[in-house]
Subunit: 217 residues, 3 copies
Amino acid sequence: MDPSLVPDPALQVALDLMGVATFAVSGGLMAVRKGFDVVGILVLAFLTSLGGGLVRDLVIGEVPPAAFADTSYLLVPIAAAAVVFVAHGPLSRLRRGALLFDAIGLGLFAVSGTLKALEFGLGPLQASFMGSLTAVGGGLLRDVVARETPVLLRADATMYSVPTFVGAGVVAVTVTSDLYSSAIGIGVVVGVVAWRLAALRFGWHAPTALRLRRRTS
Amino acid sequence: MDPSLVPDPALQVALDLMGVATFAVSGGLMAVRKGFDVVGILVLAFLTSLGGGLVRDLVIGEVPPAAFADTSYLLVPIAAAAVVFVAHGPLSRLRRGALLFDAIGLGLFAVSGTLKALEFGLGPLQASFMGSLTAVGGGLLRDVVARETPVLLRADATMYSVPTFVGAGVVAVTVTSDLYSSAIGIGVVVGVVAWRLAALRFGWHAPTALRLRRRTS
Amino acid sequence: MDPSLVPDPALQVALDLMGVATFAVSGGLMAVRKGFDVVGILVLAFLTSLGGGLVRDLVIGEVPPAAFADTSYLLVPIAAAAVVFVAHGPLSRLRRGALLFDAIGLGLFAVSGTLKALEFGLGPLQASFMGSLTAVGGGLLRDVVARETPVLLRADATMYSVPTFVGAGVVAVTVTSDLYSSAIGIGVVVGVVAWRLAALRFGWHAPTALRLRRRTS
């Protein structure tokens, strides 16, 4: 995949930094809910917002990773953590707010991560996985470090990674068939966020290995 | 270490992909046991089967790692997860089945991981560690993400990493002294699996810091 | 940043290996406290002492990482684990001993990690983060794998990462303004250790998002 195939590098960086900001808020809000101190807020903001992209950059061979090459990637989560620290709002809205910011981050990173992986020469299937990993990796690290059952795995959780992977796949397929445009990128972000929020609102689930679950209960 | 010192690269890839398949089944079965949905089965299958090799490839400098360069490495765990999803069998056999697949994966990855680390120029001690890390790393990630006490650490668990490290050491020493052959590689796989299954069957343990444990109990 | 700006490479390696030794003891002591076997002692000693530096080396692009290039980095934690295994001392001193070794490791890695990141061309802010990550990353991995709430995050814990980050920042600023000397490096190690031990002794805390915490309690 040629870098020139990605039509708007500025948009890609903008999507990426917006994803960093929303995931940083999501991580910071979890730290507040768990009663962690200012360091915990910063650490979870960094892990959630930069963890997925860091793994992506190590895998595709961008060294040093964007998180340590461009100062914006450190300043954005610091600012987000500061906002969370002073203005985390009433307790009752925290869970909902974290879920909203998380959904937006999922959509943004699914697009920016897939585009970046394609630029570095990964195939479309690999790039879809890498975009999904960028999107869900930070949240997975956040949950593991904060000792929560990863939202990615919970059978009682609504769909989380399915919209992400489908969105990443749309980006990969349209880029490799020369149909991609910035409008499609923005459309995928909106689609992933809408799908995720609808799944939360209406309680959509991914299927489980049903026969087994019936026997155990 | 020269690549030509490893006599059968095709066998090495075959061992590696067989290890991916067995660890993917092992990870998928844990997801079923814990009641995770289809995404959880896929995520644990990927983490368990590709996590150790991914860390190995990042450390030895193969970029992108095999898991994202060769499509087989993504398709094998997808197929394994599908098999687990539809045919995970009666509940009572799950724990035993997961342990058997885990043991086979340990043996396969101990050999393939050590050979690959030697190819990339690591010394024999380093390559033995890297082969062991390939073998136990995926299971460690699986246990951490699924919030199980890592089988690697449990004092009440039977020997898990000792056979792996000894097997990796045999490979490293025979390769560096020009005695390695495919027969030795296959022999090490069989030896590690047999040792691990015997440890499970007869309850062999690794020693603990005994005096301390007595005082605490 | 030019490598020649770091005035004493031998001191840097010495600080790094001393950090490896102290963190390996800290990790091994946690394994003993949790009743893990000899493999668990080794695994936690390796993770705690080499984990932070391994992530740093992958991010800055040193491949293979020091932990797998220089045999000392494997032999030191093996020796430390052996010392812990035979001489972990009376149970009552374990928690205090682990905290002391942890504090010394924090100071040593804050300096050596920051210096190494500067050598590989990271900016001063990035290098301060990387030095802090080197220092706290291994302990974070240790806590996650041993299923402890990370000391890095606990609101009831005394200050842990603040002295580390300030120390790393002093190193980064003095190196980039050509004021750095070995005496400053050693002074920062002593300062970080003293600050951390004083925080433990006098119960200093980092601030939490206070209004929220009051409502939840």
